[in-house]
């Protein structure tokens, strides 16, 4: 017994090393398996606060770009409203299931394979896990972890990201993934060969997804049948400039809970 103890004492550094290594590997594997690092994430006040205070400088530099973007969006919305009031016979539905929470991106990242972003809105402002994040131009990602005042976003530029989208023209659905190469181009999978797809076709968000239907995502730059000759390999250029995002909207789908309940009921029966 004494020998065992003295042996352990002699090897205590090695054992301590193994312990720390196992802990860090467990955290790594956990973050890869569920791609939700439950404990180690930047949605807390210390990291979020630091990112936010530094972001002020960045915001100041990009102020004119953000202003121009906002102006463009306002112009577009004004045009839409005037269209509606012109055709006043068309009833505008007063109650939509979507709510938009404005937020600011305080930490961007696009050069890694697993890009995680941070926004300055959290549980206090009504953000919950799995909400969509969009900008004026397109989609950004999906809320991954929520803290009190900050949240992390799983970017579309994450190799495990998968988003339900469709062709604007023909409504054929597919899923949007990223191969980790260019931060401006993502890939579209599962578009069957019966879909007539052409260069410059617009891709929008799909019918049943976290995002409202019909949000612009990007346009097709390359499409070819893959080896099995049943599906297209499609390359999509994002409308969003993922390297300069700035302000975003978090999309809250009030109907999603009900839809999920119905789906679960179906499964249980």
């Amino acid at each position: 017994m004494q020998q065992v103890i003295s042996y352990l004492l002699k090897k205590k550094n090695f054992l301590f090393f193994i312990l720390l290594l196992v802990v860090s590997l467990a955290l790594t594997i956990q973050s890869h398996r569920y791609h939700k690092s439950k404990f180690i994430n930047a949605a807390n006040d210390v990291t979020g606060g630091l990112y936010e205070s530094v972001n002020h400088i960045n915001e100041f530099i990009n102020l004119d770009i953000y202003n121009a973007r906002l102006l463009k969006e306002n112009a577009r919305l004004r045009k839409e409203i005037s269209n509606y009031s012109f055709h006043s016979a068309l009833a505008i539905p007063k109650d939509t299931p979507y709510e938009f929470i404005p937020a600011k991106l305080i930490k961007n990242s696009f050069h890694k394979k697993n890009n995680i972003l941070v926004i300055n809105r959290g549980a206090k402002h009504g953000v919950t896990v799995d909400m969509g994040v969009i900008t004026t131009d397109g989609i950004v990602g999906i809320i991954e972890n929520v803290g009190e005042n900050f949240s992390t976003v799983l970017s579309v530029l994450h190799v495990q990201s998968q988003i339900n989208v469709q062709l604007k023209k023909t409504n054929h659905i597919g899923s949007l993934v990223w191969n980790g190469k260019s931060p401006f181009k993502v890939q579209l999978e599962d578009i069957t060969k019966v879909a007539s797809i052409a260069i410059n076709d617009t891709i929008v968000t799909g019918n049943y997804s976290i995002f409202p239907q019909g949000i612009n995502v990007g346009k097709v730059v390359k499409a070819a049948l893959n080896q099995t000759q049943n599906y297209f390999d499609v390359e999509v250029k994002l409308f969003n400039d993922m390297s300069n995002i700035g302000y975003v909207y978090v999309v809250k789908n009030k109907a999603l809970k009900e839809v999920n309940q119905l789906l679960n009921q179906d499964q249980n029966e």
């Binding site: 301590f16 720390l20 955290l27 180690i40 994430n41 630091l50 530094v54 050069h111 697993n114 972890n145």
Partner: protein, 167 residues
């Protein structure tokens, strides 16, 4: 708490802040220097091994918080902290055995060898764990190569700038 411990803690916080606020934004292409490993490289040689291991682990973990990256940095830091004595022995030879190394007085070649070996190991572990996928192995190796060169040169310049002048 004596002066040395306080200094170490301040150095720790300074490097984490610098890494998150400055070095992470000094991107060249897709490559970022991870200069925070200087904490592990420059840690006093005559110190308690367990405390050294643990503080390296904590350093990695605090960066994982900022980068939301699970335990990737923690693992890489723990590994180089554990293998540091062997690398020290390899690059500084006898003067390490007599415990008389002063980083500022050591030969430049020895210092470069010491920095390079540990930084390359750190980056290799970091990028392999970050992708965690064999289909990205080429990407991991390429990132290791370019990021290591960047980190090594930046660290050497910083150490040369801030170490005390030779008499």
């Amino acid at each position: 708490m004596n002066k040395e411990v306080v200094l170490k803690i301040l150095f720790f916080i300074l490097l984490v802040l610098l890494q998150v606020l400055v070095f992470s934004n000094m991107r060249i292409g897709a490559y970022v220097p991870y200069v925070y490993v200087l904490f592990i490289l420059m840690f006093p040689i005559k110190s308690n091994r367990s405390i050294f291991l643990f503080s390296s682990f904590l350093l990695g973990l605090s960066l994982d918080f900022f980068f939301s990256s699970g335990g990737v940095h923690a693992a890489a830091c723990t590994i180089i902290a554990y293998f540091r004595p062997s690398v020290l022995k390899f690059s500084f030879g006898r003067s390490y055995e007599f415990q008389t190394i002063k980083f500022s007085k050591a030969l430049l070649s020895a210092r470069i060898a010491y920095f390079s070996i540990l930084i390359v190991i750190h980056h290799l572990v970091l990028f392999l764990l970050e992708t965690f996928n064999f289909s990205f192995i080429l990407y991991s190796l390429k990132s290791t190569l370019f990021s290591s060169v960047y980190t090594i040169s930046l660290s050497l310049v910083l150490v040369a700038l801030f170490s005390k002048r030779r008499e």
